[in-house]
Amino acid sequence: MSTIGKNKPTRVYRNKKPREANILLTSTSAVINHSQRSSLMPLTFGLACCAIEMIATAGPRFDLSRFGWEAYRATPRQSDLMIVAGTITNKMGTVVKKLYDQMAEPKWVIAMGACATCGGIFQTYSVVPGAHHLIPVDVYIPGCPPRPEALIHGFMTLQMKIDQKRNFGVAPVDVEPGFRGPTRKEPF
């Protein structure tokens, strides 16, 4: 017996091959967010010992390239993510601000480690107590220094934030609902 007649395509696609019939419905906002969050280009910006963990994260053991963020750029003009990895001294603070201003929109900032979050153990005249005194910060990662897994988690948290970004004043539809809790309506 033949089963061809039972699996007959619907009328619209009767004359097309099955591969051509595949259609994905989504919103423009979701596509933009998905593109932006899936190919973040971080700025190579190690300020202190956190940079060692950041380097380890990009290395083969923790393998940041699994997620598509491994293309570290050595210039702010080609990057859209600044990882403030380390202690920001007063003198370095002007450089942090200058580099952030040189990055093209859209751009995000991860404050990695205790120093970039609040100054850490350096509660002194020479250290800026947190990157948020200079530039807007999207994700804070605690730790001194944070392990590579923590940095990867920070990346994924940033991805969740980008996924909920409103484009053209429109919120994206439910993209990857597993990322968000069922009751959460507002972005982070």
């Binding site: 007063n90 002007t94 509660q123 002194t124 005249y125 020479s126 107590p129």
Partner: protein, 169 residues
């Protein structure tokens, strides 16, 4: 274990036996205020009027040849009336393998002559002392801050300076 850096020329017992102290005592133009020893390291205390002459002598004496200025630093003694600062020179002789320390007490606001003409490396070292202590070096070619940013308020290594700074974030 205490390393006797002066082992070739100095027994490590009596500071007056150190060849640098002997040479300074022999020269009438460089009167010593005091001499001390700690763990085999000899220190000579000089007045700011004679510091340049003494340091030039230590560099040029053929038996000493302190050709390397290892460090210039300072200490703040706010309770010491009339001599609130010590400017300290750490010298090293590459050929004789000797170390020697010279302290110059200064009053608050008193200038000291720069030793850039004796050792060129003093340029940055004296800028650091100026930055952290506010001690002015007369004759320095480029007297400005080196560690703290331009426009920084105060001199952090003075005892009255608050550790967390004066900027309220």
């Amino acid at each position: 274990m205490t390393v006797n850096w002066n082992r070739q020329n100095f027994s490590g017992e009596d500071p007056e036996q150190h060849p640098a102290v002997v040479a300074l005592r022999k020269n009438a133009g460089t009167p010593l205020v005091g001499v001390g020893i700690f763990r085999g390291e000899v220190t000579a205390v000089l007045s700011p009027e004679h510091s340049i002459e003494a340091l030039t002598l230590l560099r040029d004496d053929p038996g000493l040849v302190f050709d390397m200025l290892a460090d210039v630093t300072a200490v703040h003694w706010p309770q010491r009336e009339g001599a609130e600062f010590d400017v300290i020179y750490h010298l090293y002789s590459l050929s004789n393998k000797m170390r020697f320390r010279v302290k110059v007490p200064l009053a608050e606001g008193q200038e000291i002559r720069s030793v850039v003409g004796v050792w060129t490396t003093a340029g940055w070292l004296e800028r650091e002392v100026f930055d952290m202590f506010g001690i002015h070096f007369a004759g320095h070619p480029d007297q400005r801050r080196i560690l703290n940013p331009e426009g920084f308020d105060g001199h952090p290594l003075r005892k009255e300076f608050p550790v967390q700074g004066r900027v309220r974030w």
